[in-house]
């Protein structure tokens, strides 16, 4: 049996926020993913910021982006819990969403067998506790759709 990707321990991690990213984290606390879309021209942007770079509007709507899909990923070796433990891997994945064209979210893909991780694989969201927030991570959609 192969080693599955780690679930990072973020319990002591302080998520820095600003006035433009706070709505994202408020929604994340309810285990819901939303991404910012311009209230004037409907262009998604990421990360959240003070202006729509397409039309300069400051109006934002936070929108559930729909099905996630792996756009790219890497596999990083990480030290095991002790010297004799087998090596572990962490898998940062860059994910696109069906309902949010033009933007991508990068986070950890957890509990995945590295050989099963492929570009275009579908993912679902999971949520981990951090010191001051709930953070989004990805899981391979399981079981795969028929």
């Amino acid at each position: 049996m192969s080693t599955r990707s780690i679930t990072p321990d973020l319990s002591a991690f302080e998520v820095p926020m600003d006035v433009w990213s706070e709505p994202y984290w408020h929604t994340a606390a309810e285990h819901r993913l939303v991404l910012p879309r311009c209230g004037a021209c409907n262009t998604f942007r990421w990360p959240a910021g003070p202006f729509c770079p397409e039309c300069r509007s400051q109006e934002v709507e936070w929108v559930a982006p729909g099905q996630g899909r792996i756009y790219s990923f890497t596999i990083l070796p990480v030290a095991g819990p002790d010297k004799d433990a087998p090596p572990q891997v962490r898998i940062p994945a860059l994910v696109t969403f069906e309902g949010a064209p033009g933007v991508r979210l990068v986070s950890a893909l957890i509990d995945a067998a590295p050989e099963e991780v492929k570009i275009d694989a579908l993912v679902e969201m999971d949520w981990l506790p951090a010191a001051n927030a709930t953070v989004p991570v990805f899981r391979l959609q399981n079981p795969p759709p028929v």
Binding site: P8, L10, F13, V15, P16, M17, D18, W20, S21, W46, P47, A48, G49, P53, Y71, S72, F73, T74, I75, L76, P77, V78, R90, P92, A93, L94, G102, V103, R104, L105, V106, S107, A108, I119, V135, P136, V137
Partner: protein, 386 residues
């Protein structure tokens, strides 16, 4: 809009494996490089009246105090880190062309004492925009660029063998280069056995981290004619930002057609327009090789082959010393040393003077690229012909 300025002096410290230049400070390294460059140009320190930098630069008042540099009428810095490096040559050329200073010293240095450039993304997790890199586990530029590299492989069928060829070619070049840090040639088997650090990037795809300083004296073509070495003309240098590349691996939201590049297409276009030179006119290319796949992607951006054709181009042997486009005959960042692109300018000058360790016979024009990183990006063409 061709420049009327030339590189007339070069100075460098030895290249030290990261952290081993202590107890010298980074300013002591810079001082050594500046003094050597000024001597190489046949000038006195009192002839120097300008400084040019990139990546935030170094405090000019400290340099003046330590080496006894009396008067400056010019001291400026271009934006971009390694990305902006070649733009520093444009800045120096502007300085002498406009008469703001007569002899400008370009300075670049790195010292990995108490910090490491390879972990430069660590601080990013402390910002609202960068927190996702920290959650994902992307701690260094190579880890984030691995995402771009994998997408290039997925889109174009690029093979790891091509990255291995870039490393092998680099190591062959460095094997004869005195002062290079990694000089032992490797085989494709060695490459394939190298441990994965950020799949698909293995340890051998990552460049060195090096301590050292380099300096280049830039003067007008007119004054350059009277100096000891044949002048190396700054035919042109471009310093360009486009939003779709933007914050590069800090962002990862580029359009598909930009995500699978090294972000240098707009620089190449402007550089060729400014100089009237095209890829077919380049005799030797110093390509910023912080990560070997980024060499292949820059070769595409600069038009040496088409988009997506970098793999087969490299695997054909084209980039070897005897190939159609020799690159990094000094061994580059992968094998000689990594001082944020500065060593590439030195090699271009040596190639144009005809004094390089692995001299490309008859080379008249050299390309130097800044690193694929957040804008502004840069590139320069140097020549021994005006």
């Amino acid at each position: 809009m061709k420049n009327q300025a030339s590189i007339v002096g070069v100075g460098a410290t030895p290249y030290y494996f990261r952290g081993t230049s202590a107890p010298q400070t980074v300013f002591e390294l810079i001082d050594h490089a500046v003094l050597a460059a000024v001597a190489d140009a046949g000038l006195k320190l009192s002839d120097i009246d300008g400084l040019a930098f990139f990546a935030g630069g170094f405090d000019p008042s400290m340099i003046m105090q330590q080496i006894g540099l009396d008067n400056l009428t010019f001291s400026h810095c271009v934006s971009g880190y390694g990305s902006g490096m070649a733009g520093m040559l444009d800045l120096a050329a502007m300085g002498v062309d406009s008469g703001r200073a007569k002899n400008i010293v370009c300075i670049g240095a790195s010292q990995n004492v108490g910090k490491r450039y390879g972990q430069a993304l660590g601080m990013l997790g402390l910002t609202p925009d960068g927190v996702f890199h920290a959650i994902a586990g992307l701690g260094g530029p190579g880890q984030a660029m691995a995402l771009m590299v994998r997408r290039h492989m997925h889109r174009y069928g690029t093979r790891r063998e091509a990255f291995g060829e870039i490393v092998m070619a680099s190591r062959i070049a460095a094997s004869t280069r005195e002062g290079a840090i990694r000089r032992k040639p490797i085989t494709l088997d060695d490459y394939m056995a190298s441990p994965m650090l950020a799949d698909p990037l293995c340890r051998l795809d990552f460049c060195l981290e090096t301590d050292g300083a380099l300096a280049f004296v830039v003067s007008s073509d007119e004054r350059a004619a009277d100096m000891p070495h044949p002048p190396v003309h700054i035919t042109g240098a471009a310093h360009v930002g486009v939003r779709d590349w933007g914050r590069a691996f800090f962002w990862l939201n580029q359009s598909e057609d930009t995500f699978t590049t090294a972000g240098a297409g707009a620089v190449a276009k402007r550089l060729y327009e400014l100089t009237g030179v095209g890829p077919q006119d380049i005799d030797v290319a110093m390509i910023y090789d912080h990560f070997s796949p980024m060499v292949l992607m820059q070769l595409e951006d600069y038009g040496f082959c088409g988009a997506g054709e970098g793999g087969p181009f490299v695997e054909s042997g084209a980039i070897r010393l005897d190939g159609s486009l020799p690159i990094n005959p000094h061994g580059g960042h992968l094998s000689e040393g990594y001082i944020v692109g500065m060593t590439h300018v030195r090699e271009a000058v040596e190639q144009m003077r005809g004094t390089a360790t692995n001299q490309i016979k008859g080379a008249k024009r050299a390309l130097v690229t800044g690193g694929p990183a957040p804008v502004l990006m840069s590139g320069a063409i140097l020549s021994n012909e005006r």
